[in-house]
């Protein structure tokens, strides 16, 4: 039954894609104009007339850049011409470093805050103020104090991924069922064992939810950050192709960002499932 449902859903998805591509094709199709027949076509082109183009690439043109970039994803022809694989690898690398740094800080600090109502209250105003700041607002300060565009990009990822993880870890740890803590207490379990065998597994689903949110935000932010910082990465690629007015490549990059983002989310979804327990 569910297989049948899946098949139906897949069919409808494909249908929607086809309708979308069709509409796109229709909207961007070059129209034959009367001018072409009358005058010298070269002259017409020179005057900016002739074929009336919408300027927006057709699906076919975008398809071509898909084929072109995906057929050779790892070439490297100098700083402004690298394969999409290399660009994505740079972005993913920055996200990974920034995200892992954030994990390294957010988990222990979140644990501490979650265990102590006093610290929870003491940290709360800072978290509330820092959390809503757009990560890109930190960029000038980061560039000034770190003096390195690459590290600044990582810093921006770090600062945007830390809050959801910190808050979720603190919340998860502070709301571990009283009963489980009491079991550990009556068994005179030492603090380290209690932290790793009782509190951590109990709070893990909440913590992973925070990580998943963080990773989503980090992937959103890296594109913008790389547009600012430049050099390498998928964000820089988009910006570069925009400067080349190569819209098919921009569209290609946009789709790639979406696909990679989806896989990142799927991965964290899988991790989440791994630590979720049924009561």
């Amino acid at each position: 039954m569910s297989a049948k449902l899946k098949l139906k859903a897949a069919f409808i998805s494909l249908l929607m894609l086809a309708v979308f591509l069709g509409a796109w094709q229709l909207a961007t199709q070059p129209k034959e104009s009367a001018v072409q027949a009358l005058a010298d076509s070269e002259y017409a082109a020179l005057m900016g007339k002739g074929q009336e183009k919408s300027g927006f690439p057709t699906p076919g043109m975008v398809g071509k850049s898909f084929v072109q970039y995906l057929s050779d994803p790892f070439y490297d022809k100098g700083p402004n011409d690298k394969g999409i694989g290399i660009q994505l690898a740079h972005s993913l690398g920055r996200v990974a470093v920034g995200f892992l740094l954030a994990v390294a800080i957010a988990l222990p600090v979140g644990f501490m805050i979650g265990m102590s109502p006093l610290l929870f209250k003491a940290f709360d105003p800072f978290i509330q103020v820092l959390k809503p700041i757009s990560p890109l607002a930190w960029m000038p300060l980061a560039l000034y104090s770190l003096k390195d565009s690459d590290i600044s990009g990582i810093f921006v990822i770090f600062i945007c991924s830390i809050w959801p993880m910190l808050i979720n870890t603190a919340f998860g740890v502070s709301s571990v069922r009283r009963d489980w803590i009491n079991v550990a207490r009556t068994l005179e379990v030492n603090p380290l064992r209690k932290a790793f065998l009782v509190i951590l597994p109990a709070a893990a689903p909440t913590i992973l939810t925070g990580m998943r949110i963080s990773m989503g935000i980090a992937w959103l932010v890296i594109v913008a950050a790389e547009m600012l910082v430049g050099g390498t990465g998928i964000g820089y690629f988009v910006w570069n192709e925009w400067n080349n007015l190569a819209l098919p490549n921009v569209i290609f990059a946009v789709v790639m960002i979406g696909i990679v983002g989806m896989f990142l989310d799927l991965f964290f979804g899988w991790l989440q499932k791994l630590v979720t327990y049924r009561e």
């Binding site: 489980w180 079991v183 009556t186 068994l187 005179e188 065998l197 327990y277």
Partner: protein, 312 residues
């Protein structure tokens, strides 16, 4: 110092003021003792502080005044000497049944080998009839099975004393019955010292050596200590044939329904000594038949005499 295994002296609990208004003590002047191997139930209405008393004994809560001594040492903080079975079973859902018990056993004997721990745990899980389910997760078990795991976990650390907080409260009547039987068997075999909270009068009579009756809170006290004088080898299927059974049961129900509210206030204190609550043995008392019943009996016997005469 007393010679009893567990002694509770002048225990009192006042919760911190709510909105600046001081709270009345939930209970005060609680005195009782438990000897080694005794099974003691505490019965009383909700809000009289039974769970707080149990938590104080477990070391999970602190009394506002008074002390508890176990084995000559003051009870302060939780200890592996006291095993607790929680009302809500409190199993860790991410661990298997075996994992839950092994967690406790490893806490008690950290230097035991894995195999030894496993063997020990399986022994106790088999004791509660769960030898077949050791690799299941708690979520895959029924309520009764979960509570059995909780009991196995508490017994597995071989505590000097077992504290049970309404362990069967959330179970249906049938399951409750079978687990009561099992607990009875285990306790009879191991001579475990047990302190148990229950709302169920029949459960208390079946399991206990003595029952502490608590008056209603606030200012709750131990009103009476009822000794269950029936022989220890009881079974759930036969206990109600014992002539003592209904005497005890009536006494308990009568207390809960009528007398439990009359112990607060100065008037009650005049004839009730909370330091030494009266010990009663309703099972051995000669039936205190109500006056009306006596009257009817007389009438009946007179009628019979009349009948006799007429027949002759």
């Amino acid at each position: 110092m007393s010679t009893h295994f567990l002694t509770v002296e002048s225990l009192k609990k006042v919760f911190p003021p709510t909105n600046g208004i001081a709270n009345e003590p939930v209970f005060e002047d609680i005195n009782f003792y438990i000897d080694k191997g005794e099974f003691v139930c505490i019965v009383g209405h909700s809000g009289c502080g039974k769970t707080t008393i149990l938590n104080v004994l477990a070391g999970l809560d602190e009394a506002s005044a008074g002390e508890a001594f176990m084995d000559g040492r003051e009870v302060r903080g939780p200890s592996l000497d006291r095993g607790v079975v929680f009302q809500s079973h409190a199993l860790m859902p991410w661990m298997s049944v075996l994992g839950n018990v092994a967690f406790a056993v490893k806490s008690k004997w950290p230097d035991w080998s894995k195999d030894k721990i496993k063997e020990h745990c399986i022994g106790y899980l088999e004791m509660v009839g769960l030898g077949h389910a050791i690799h299941k997760k708690p979520a895959e078990l029924s309520g009764g099975m979960k509570q059995r795991v909780g009991i196995a976990r508490a017994f597995a650390i071989q505590p000097k004393m077992l504290l049970l907080d309404e362990p069967f409260g959330a179970l249906d009547a049938l399951t409750r019955g079978t687990i009561q039987d099992e607990l009875l068997k285990i306790v009879q075999a191991t001579h475990q010292t047990v302190f148990m909270i229950t709302h169920d009068v029949d459960e208390a009579i079946l399991l206990a050596d003595k029952i502490l009756l608590m008056s209603n809170g606030p200012h709750a006290k131990i009103a009476e200590i009822v000794e269950i004088t029936m022989p220890r080898s009881r079974t759930r299927s036969e206990i109600h044939h014992d002539p003592q059974y209904y005497k005890i049961r009536n006494h308990l129900v009568d207390f809960l329904v009528n007398r439990s509210k009359t112990y607060a206030g100065a008037e009650a204190e005049m004839f009730h000594d909370a330091k030494n609550p009266p010990v009663v043995r309703p099972g051995l008392e000669v039936e205190r038949a109500p006056v009306i019943a006596l009257a009817t009996e007389k009438v009946v016997s007179q009628l019979q005499q009349v009948k006799h005469a007429v027949n002759q």
